[in-house]
Symmetry: C2
Subunit: 313 residues, 2 copies
C-alpha cells in the first residue's frame, strides 16, 4: 500500500507492506482522511504516535470500507462503511482499526465529510459534554470557531440547545459560522463585550487569557483543546476560586482503548442521528488526493480556512 | 447580645441588639464558633460578608442550642443542638440561621469540636468528593494538612478508602497527621519524591506549583482551596492538556441557599455517622472565651498549629 510518510521531518508518499488485521481488528480501505493540528505537531517531532500505532504514517481519523476482518471480529463485514479515530496511520491506502473504535458512516454522508468527522467531532463533543457537562440553555463561547473543532463545537452546542457565541479571526467566515448555529460571531478582540459564559472552549490558546476569566460566569468551565497561539498563561488562583471556575485540559490520542471506544459510542448515540439527518454537517474547506499530501499540509498550515482539509485516497 | 465586631480593621466585643428570627429561621444561642482563614481576610477588608449576613460580625461557623424559632420552621425546636455554616455573624452570643442550613450535633461531640466542624469539613468534603469525585483506592495529596481544612481532608479521604499523602511544614505535627489517617507525611519540599496522585488538595497556594503538575497522575484533579502563601502561578496549558488535568477553584461563602443546604445534607449523610462514632474528629488546637477574641485571632494568625482555633461563648 501507499501511505503519507514522515521522513526527516518531511512528508512523502511511500510504498509500505499491506498491514494484516490481528484479533478484533479491521483492515479498512481508506477513502478519506482528515488533517488535524496534531499532524503538524507530529511532523515537527513533538507528538509521537502512541505505542501500537504506525510511527511514521500520520493521520488521526479516517473513513472507508472494511477490506478484511481479523479473527474474533463480531460486528463487521467486508464492505461496511466505517469511520474512526485512530492513534496514527490514517493517511494511507489501508489502515488497521480495532472494531470497537469504528462507527458506521450514514448513507447520506460523503467520504470527505466522513473522513473529516471523527477527530474534530469527538474532540468537541468530549470537551463540551463529557468534560464541561454543557446543558440546554447554557451560554457557551467557542474560540477559533471557523476551524475543524470549532465548526463541530458550534453545531454540537447549538444542536443541544446551548446559546453559542463564537470568535473567528477571519471576517469572511463570520456569516458561515453564524449559519452553523452561532447566535453571535465576533472578532477575538471583541470578546470583552460578550459574556457571561457557562462554558468556554479554548481552541486558540494563551492570548485569550486572562480575558476568558473576565467573561466566565460563576461556576463556569473552560476546556483547553488547542494552544496553537501560545500555551503559557499567568493564572490568578484567587480569581479561579472567586469565580468557582473549573479548567480542563484534554487530549484524545493518548487515551486507552476503552476510553476511545466509550467516546465512539457516545458519538453514535448523541451525534450520528443529527449527522445522518443533515442537521449537523462537516464543513470541508478543501480536498486533496493522497499524492498531493504536501500541498494539503501547506494549505492546512496557512490557516484562515473554514472547516476541514481532507485527503481523498 | 455581645458579639465580636470589626471596627476600622480591628476586633472588639461590642453589644448589639438581639436578632429576631424571620420566616424559616432559627435563633441560635452560640456555644462555640471556629476561626477560619476567611475571617482574617475579612478583617483586612478583602472578603465582605454576602448580602443578608451581618457585615461587621465575623464568623463562618457555629454550634449551639436553638433559642427560638421563626414562623414557618418545620423541623426544629428550642433546645435542639445544632451546627451550621453561615455567611457571617457566628462569633456572637446569638446568631440567625436558616433551618435548612443546620445539622444536628451528635451527642458524642463537644461544643468546641462542633463549633469548629462545619466550615472545614464542608470545604474539604465539597472539594474532595463533590468537585474532584474522589473514590476509594485513589491517591490523594493534601497540602497544608495540619490546619483546619487539612486535618478534615486527611480524615475524610482516608475514611472513604483513599490513600493519603500529606505535606506539613511543622515537623512537630507529622505524627499527629499520620494518626489522622495519612499513610505518609512529608515536608512541602519533599513532595517531588511522592506521587503520582489522582487528586491534589491545595490549601497553601502558588509555591506548590509547578511541582503539583509533576506529581499529578494522568487525568488527575487539583482543587484550589487556599492561597495564603501566594495566588499567582505560571501555567503551561500544554502540560494541562498532556496530563488531561482538571483544575478547580472554589469558595463556599458566596453560594446560594440551595447549594449550601445541599452541602449540609451531604455532610449529614456522608460524614456525621463517622463523626458520631468517633472515627472522625475535630482537632482543636486551642479555645478562647469570646472576650479574648483578639488573642484567638492572634494565635490563629501565628500559624503552626494542629487543627482549629475555636471561640467558646
Amino acid at each position: 500500500m501507499r501511505a503519507a510518510t514522515i521522513q526527516d521531518g518531511k512528508l512523502a508518499v511511500v510504498e509500505h507492506p499491506d498491514p494484516s488485521p490481528g484479533h478484533g481488528h479491521l483492515l479498512v480501505r481508506v477513502r478519506a482522511a482528515g488533517l488535524n493540528g496534531a499532524d503538524l505537531h507530529q511532523l515537527r517531532g513533538g507528538y509521537p504516535a502512541p505505542p501500537g500505532s504506525p510511527q511514521d504514517i500520520p493521520g488521526l481519523e479516517l473513513a472507508g470500507e472494511v477490506a478484511a476482518i481479523g479473527p474474533g471480529v463480531l460486528g463487521h463485514q467486508p464492505g461496511d462503511r466505517v469511520m474512526a479515530l485512530v492513534g496514527g496511520g490514517a493517511q494511507a491506502e489501508l489502515a488497521l482499526v480495532h472494531e470497537r473504535l469504528v462507527s458506521p458512516v450514514p448513507e447520506t454522508v460523503t467520504w470527505p465529510a466522513a473522513g473529516g468527522f471523527p477527530e474534530v467531532f469527538t474532540t468537541a463533543h468530549d470537551a463540551l459534554f463529557s468534560q464541561c457537562g454543557l446543558r440546554a440553555g447554557e451560554r457557551v463561547l467557542v474560540h477559533g470557531a471557523a476551524g475543524g473543532v470549532g465548526t463541530a463545537a458550534v453545531q454540537l452546542a447549538a444542536n443541544a440547545g446551548a446559546l453559542v457565541t463564537a470568535t473567528v479571526r477571519n471576517p469572511e467566515h463570520h456569516r458561515a459560522v453564524a449559519d452553523l448555529g452561532a447566535e453571535r460571531v465576533v472578532l477575538p478582540e471583541e470578546m470583552g463585550d460578550t459574556g457571561p459564559f457557562d462554558v468556554i472552549l479554548e481552541l486558540v490558546g494563551a492570548p485569550n487569557f486572562p480575558a476568558n476569566f473576565d467573561v466566565l460566569a460563576q461556576g463556569g468551565r473552560i476546556s483547553i483543546i488547542g494552544t496553537g497561539a501560545g500555551g503559557r498563561i499567568d493564572l490568578d488562583l484567587r480569581q479561579l476560586m472567586a469565580r468557582r471556575a473549573r479548567l480542563f485540559g484534554s487530549t484524545l490520542r493518548s487515551r486507552p482503548l476503552e476510553e476511545k471506544a466509550t467516546a465512539a459510542r457516545r458519538i453514535e448515540t448523541h451525534v450520528l442521528p443529527a449527522l445522518a439527518a443533515g442537521r449537523i454537517r462537516v464543513p470541508v474547506a478543501a480536498t486533496y488526493p493522497l499524492d498531493q499530501v504536501e500541498e494539503a499540509y501547506e494549505r492546512f498550515r496557512a490557516g484562515g480556512k473554514l472547516g476541514k482539509i481532507v485527503l481523498e485516497v
